[in-house]
Amino acid sequence: MAYKNYILVCGGTGCESSRGDEIFRTLIKEAELQGVKNDVQVVKTGCFGFCEKGPIVKVLPQESFYVEVKPEDAKEIIAEQVIKGREVKRLLYKKDQASSDKVKIEDIDFYQKQFRVVLRNCGVINPENIDEYIAREGYTGLERALFKFSPDEVVEELKKSGLRGRGGAGFPTWLKWDLTRKAPGDVKYVVCNADEGDPGAYMNRSTIEGDPHSIVESMIICGRTIGAHEGYIYIRAEYPLAIERLKIAIRQAREYGLLGKDILGSGYDFDLDIRLGAGAFVCGEETALLQSLEGKRGMPVPKPPFPAIKGLWQKPTVINNVETFANISVIMAKGAEWFAKIGTEKSKGTKTFALTGKINNSGLVEVPMGTTLREIVFDIGGGIRNGKKFKGVQTGGPSGGIITEESLDQPITYESLTALGSMMGSGGMIIMDEDDCVVDIAKFYMAFCVDESCGKCAPCRIGTKQMHDILEKISNGNGVEEDLAKLEKIGKAMTKASLCMLGGSAANPTLSTIKHFREDYMEHIRDHKCRAGKCKSLVVYEIDAAKCIGCGICARRCPVPCITGEKKQPHVIDRARCIKCGECFTACKFGAVVKK
């Protein structure tokens, strides 16, 4: 029996954390209460991507795109749309506050330039239902790999597709598989790297949450191709929803005979297991991940030998990132030619990014390779918040560098980002505006690396700390010009000498900000000034007597307290005691508290 309406509730982590699950449950309850439970099916899907406007609810067949939905709205959605067939206008996405027109989903700016391959099922299917995945061509890729293609042909297909590793380095996937396939040994493994750890990145998380079967299917295809019978998904324990959905997917796949012995009667055996990471960033590095998988301390080991020759338990192993795997199933289903048409000559397909920071439309985006940064920031992202000025975009998280205004028109490819002193990384993209301080940002990323360095190799363990200390000194206003030379010296030594790419790229944010914003550093050093007001030690809060009306809210909020003044008289901040917490600044409704 067909339903009158289908209501899709976003089940991504972002929306879930904004009471998405409550919306889902309330919708079901309301449908029952209002006696229309047979008319409507409420489905929890994966991420719609438009996290800025979450929680998101989509109603079919009207294609109503409701944003910033609250559980309280459920009653109205059922009453109006399901019973009366009328859209709830106030919840519909609108281009701006003034407009009242419904915007078709395909016309929403945020989705305009996107092209969903990896996220094809996110926001479309119920990730906890294998049938919905199958209905969308799911497991047809596996079927082809099992019955239509030989392992040689699978590799050939991948080669034709031009797919490169989405973990950041861009190694041709077909070659990795081929090396592993040809490596001597009877026991081989497939490992999925789901240890997404960059600050601000959640592409892999959303992919698994929204479409876990695409990973399961691809890993089976990989196992079949290289001759492995066991696979592991190494996922951080901080992703409980993704883990849960993977578990459900694996269980369902087993029930359907897609995992286990004699898959689909092909005679091929393969099974999957999940291993939880304990939250070490370095375990996203493949050799460290494999060590951790073996139950050892997660520290990188020198390469070669590469995992393709000696990986998990010293056996040939394919280790691919979540996004890489998510591409495989669709390539196998739709064919390499279809895939190869997307993207640029050397960088095929699409890339997902987690767009965050000072941007209007933060969210999960997927664009064809070759899209420019400007398109992502200004067209998809809707530009900078509050009309501020764009300063830079950090790609590749703590391993990447800052990309500035003048490079915004570069098409995104593996090569172009590297040439810009940054890197593709796994796809975190943090937008900064004029209120961001590059010293502060460099310090933030360096602090992250100091904490996350495993401690094995000297340059990374020691160099990150030394650089962090110098950045701290500069941000405190105690820097001297030579410090910049020291930062460059240590940074370059770390880049050249570190064992793995954590240390090898840890200096990138610092080196690239020095390169592009040397003057900002010099302001901190020479003028003891932080233009953005982010470096606390350099900020001075003052009350503009002309604007202060003496309401006293600043004094009441001050935790020290160091603000004094008579009622209805201008107040004064005692600078000596001020801890620069900024409470007064945010409290003042009259703009009387100023940062200098």
Binding site: P302, S453, C454, A458, R461, T495, K496
Partner: protein, 921 residues
């Protein structure tokens, strides 16, 4: 082979070599701090970076982990490389507590040396001061984490070579540090004190304790030699200052490959100990008084001639020493055979592996380890029975642990839950004295389940049919050696016996390691034969990784046997009864040895008790503690007409002597030892013997001269040449050859081609006697089973920290702190039944004596079994053991099973029945 260019020099090295290895081959030194020979690349210190043309990333690669490639162009010391290294060094130095003036590592500190080489004198980038409290809790070494550079060497040695898994790195980034167990203090951890971490620490983070090892940091000399403790034969360097040994560093010998155990590393204080004998002592008016060598040897000669005159040559006997060199053992037996004219020569092998000699000689024709130690690396299964390997042969123990970690199976058959039992696939906790039942039942299973390699049986063995019939009960199924019959005897499940048999027989290559737990029974020979039957039946012999290995206990017990310090064989195991052998030896000596085989050590004691021994010459043995039933053996030593003891210290036996001759220890002499794998290795002199002490070799040379057999050249090398001349299995060896690396016998001389490479494994083509012989052997109960009066079975053995009668290890304060007193191991239930708690004094009484030891309550021993180490004179286990029950063939006493009773003793109680404490004390 791959050809590459390093610093404009072309190098051709095997494929798979690293750039570091290739550079080394060209004599180019690349600095390293984390790299360790024998382990794979670690890649932590980043000091070995080199410039490689066309390399990805930055153009720099770590030499330690970069494999060579054809046409590769490498620069190891370009300005860019040197600058980068200096920058890395500066970083490392910035976190290191560079207290170089006060640091005892100064002079041997790799970090300091490299900083000098690279001109790193100050830190411009910011110093990181750490404030760890020094950890001084360990008896042998101190830990200063403020100096640690996290190179990871200690961690890797502890885990990957020593396989102890005590050390690891904890914490991330700035908090990363080396920890013991769960961040315990080192002294409270499970550290086994092997000291290998200390040996390889490149800086001063791990240093031997200054008070225990004074002068360890002021090394002037370094002498490569072989360890003087157990039979593993670890090569090591003695570090000397002046005439003092101040430290020990492991070497990469074939047996130890870079590691040592606690005794080899730390227990060297006996060498220059003030208690060393420095002058001959002669008993005058009941007191031992110092005399000159002339007077001592005059007395020796006079009393010996008198004894021969009175009772004939066979009233004279000599006990040689497994601690002395091959050359000394050779001269000792030559002295008795040629100068005195008796075959009454024996040594302590009588008490350890004599049953291996009698047993294996019958079945295989030769009694030594059939494989090499390194062969254990090739085994798929290791069967350890009656050997507490990790304590008695710790370095072999580590190798077994490593084998298990790389995937080899391990079966342990032992009454105690020894360390190896904890990692074994199967631990058969058999009752003492049930070996034969176990081995027979395993053999039964192999036949029953059709696992016999028929081709091997037919081609290589004899007696199979009779053996199979015997196992089947010789027509009477009730007598068949089924696991069901053996299970109650052994005290283990029949299913486990079957499982062990299956694992052993179906492994591609299985090695057996056994020791005293098989041999020291009144039917020890049969025990060895039963084990040999098992190995033959499964065809687990003569292949890489398939071997039968009696682990020899003392540094040169193999050599002492090789040299004929035995009553029935001449050097090279040629029978004294064989006229051809006697003639061959006689030709070199000028005198033919007597025909009649002499007395064994146990028989010598019996004869002495009867007053039949007129003169006994004891070289480096302490029978007063190590013999069974020492009340009796002490009495025997007292009854000897004239007792000469030649030793390092005034041992319990020396205290009974009429003449004491001060001897040099292993560090004070040149010579050779043969280790347990038949490998003859050079022993080199590092220091002079104290006072007037002399090497056993020079004393024996003097004595031979006095009895008309002077040596033309009394150097050890010349003696070795004579050994090679009369010992066929040694005939291809010479000191120049041994200089490079030890050789495993048989190493026969090849006429025209002198360089026989030695023999890694025996029996690859045939057994020493031709075909391997099956000899059916019946199980018998122990001679002294537990009964109502003596309800426990006492079994004896060694501890990791102590060695034999503690004459050497007892001089090391750290050893004494860790294992300074006798503790009796008793099971929890047995302890509860007897009202005994951990640490209580326990009285242990046998039919022969009674001693008191502290209770160590654990699950190591089973109920009804107690274990006592035999090291301690004050709680001498051998007051309890019996010398009545000896093996009829090998005369080995039953050390491993004595019926005793135990009770809680009052405080302050001590041993009784110790006989006389010694004439001179």
């Amino acid at each position: 082979m791959v050809t590459l260019t390093i610093d404009n020099d072309s190098s051709t090295v095997p494929e798979g070599s690293t750039v570091l290895q290739a550079a080394k081959a060209l004599g180019i030194a690349i600095p390293t701090l984390c790299w360790l020979e024998g382990l794979g690349p670690y890649g932590g210190c980043r000091l070995c970076l080199v410039e490689v043309e066309g390399a990805s990333r930055s153009g720099f690669l770590a030499a330690c982990s970069t494999p060579v490639a054809e046409g590769m162009v490498v620069r190891t010391s370009s300005p860019a490389v040197r600058q980068l290294r200096a920058e890395v060094l500066e970083m490392i130095l910035s976190t290191h507590h560079a207290d170089c003036f006060n640091c005892r590592k100064n002079g041997a500190c790799d970090l300091l040396d490299y900083c000098r080489e690279y001109g790193v004198t100050k830190i411009e980038t910011g110093r990181e001061t750490r404030h760890h409290r020094p950890d001084t809790s360990h008896p042998f070494y101190n830990v200063d984490r403020n100096k640690c550079i996290l190179c990871g060497r200690c961690v890797r040695v502890c885990n990957d070579l020593q396989a102890s898994h005590v050390l690891d790195i904890a914490g991330r980034g700035q908090t990363a540090h080396v920890m013991a167990d769960h961040d315990d203090r080192m002294g409270d951890s499970t550290c086994v004190s092997c000291g290998n971490c200390v040996s390889y620490c490149p800086v001063g983070a791990l240093l031997p304790k200054p008070k225990v090892f004074p002068g360890e940091h002021l090394v002037q000399g370094r002498t490569r030699t072989v360890c003087g403790y157990c039979g593993v034969g670890c090569e090591l360097d003695l570090l000397t200052r002046g005439n003092a040994v101040v430290g020990v560093q492991p070497a990469h010998g074939p047996a130890n490959e870079g590691i040592l155990c606690v005794k080899g590393k730390f227990a060297f204080q006996f060498i220059g100990h003030p208690d060393r004998l420095t002058a001959p002592l002669l008993r005058k008016d009941g007191q031992l008084v110092p005399v000159t060598w002339d007077e001592a040897l005059d007395e020796f000669e006079k009393r010996l001639r008198a004894a021969i005159a009175k009772g004939g040559p066979d009233s004279v006997a000599g006990l040689s020493s497994a601690r002395c060199t091959n050359e000394e053992n050779y001269l000792f037996q030559k002295f008795l055979r040629a100068a005195v004219g008796t075959n009454n020569i024996d040594h302590c092998a009588r008490l350890c592996h004599s049953s291996s000699v009698t047993g294996l000689s019958k079945t295989l024709g030769s009694a030594a380890m059939s494989g090499a130690i390194a062969d254990l690396d090739l085994a798929d299964l290791i069967f350890v029975t009656g050997s507490n390997t990790t304590e008695t042969h710790p370095v072999i123990g580590s190798r077994i642990k490593r084998a298990v970690e790389r995937g080899a199976r391990l079966i342990v058959a032992d009454p105690r839950k020894i360390e190896l039992a904890g990692i074994a696939d199967l631990h058969l906790r058999i009752n003492p004295g049930s070996n034969i039942a176990l081995f027979n039942a395993m053999a039964f299973t192999i036949i029953e389940e059709g696992l016999v390699p028929q081709a091997f049986i037919e081609a290589r063995t004899e007696g199979y049919a009779a053996f199979a019939a015997f196992l089947a009960g010789s027509g009477d199924p009730a007598h068949a050696w089924s696991p069901e019959r053996a299970a109650p005897i052994c005290g283990v499940e029949a299913a486990d016996i079957r499982k062990a048999a299956r694992l052993y027989a179906t492994s591609k290559a299985a090695s057996v390691c056994y020791a005293m737990g098989v041999t020291q029974y009144h039917n020890g020979t049969n025990g060895v034969v039963a084990l040999s039957n098992l190995a033959l039946l499964a065809g687990q012999l003569g292949r890489p990784g398939a071997s039968l290995n009696p682990l020899r206990g003392q540094n040169n017990v193999q050599g002492a046997c090789d040299m004929g310090a035995l009553p029935d064989v001449l050097p090279g195991y040629r029978k004294v009864a064989d006229p051809a052998a006697r003639a061959a030896v006689g030709k070199v000596w000028g005198v033919e040895p007597p025909e009649k085989p002499g007395m064994t050590a146990t028989e010598i004691v019996e004869e002495a008790l009867e007053g039949q021994i007129g003169f006994l010459y004891v070289m480096g043995e302490n029978g007063a503690i190590s013999d069974p039933d020492i009340t009796k053996s002490m009495k025997a030593f007292e009854k000897v007409g004239f007792l000469v003891v030649q030793d390092l210290f005034l041992t319990e036996t020396a205290a009974l002597a009429d003449l004491v001759l001060p001897a040099a220890c292993f560090a004070e002499k040149e010579g050779s030892f043969a280790n347990t794998e038949r490998r003859v290795q050079r022993v080199r002199k590092a220091v002079e013997a104290p006072g007037k002490a002399r090497t056993d070799l020079s004393i024996l040379a003097d004595l031979l001269g006095r009895f008309g057999l002077p040596l033309a050249d009394a150097s050890a090398e010349a003696v070795f040449r004579e050994i090679a001349a009369v010992t066929p299995i040694y005939s291809g060896m010479s000191w120049p050859r041994l200089e490079k690396q030890g050789l495993q016998w048989p190493c026969p001389a090849h006429p025209g081609d002198p360089a026989h490479p030695g023999t890694t494994r025996l029996y690859t083509e045939s057994f020493s006697r031709g075909r391997g012989l099956f000899i059916p052997v019946e199980w018998e109960a122990v001679a002294e089973p537990a009964d109502r009066e003596y309800p426990f079975l006492l079994t004896t053995g060694r501890l990791l920290y102590q060695y034999h009668t503690r004459t050497m290890t007892g001089k090391s304060p750290g050893i004494e702190r860790l294992a300074g007193k006798a503790r009796v191991e008793i099971s929890l239930r047995s302890a509860q039944d007897a009202g005994i708690e951990e640490g209580d004094p326990v009285r242990i009484t046998s039919r022969r004596g009674s001693i008191v030891a502290e209770a160590k309550v654990s699950d190591r021993t089973g109920d009804g079994v107690v274990f006592l180490p035999f090291h301690f004179a004050e709680a001498a286990a051998n007051l309890l053991t019996s010398s009545d029950a000896t093996d009829p063939e090998s005369r080995i006493p039953e050390f491993k099973a004595t019926a005793v009773r135990i009770e809680k003793a009052g405080p302050g109680t001590a041993a009784v029945g110790a006989g006389k404490a010694g004439k001179g004390r």
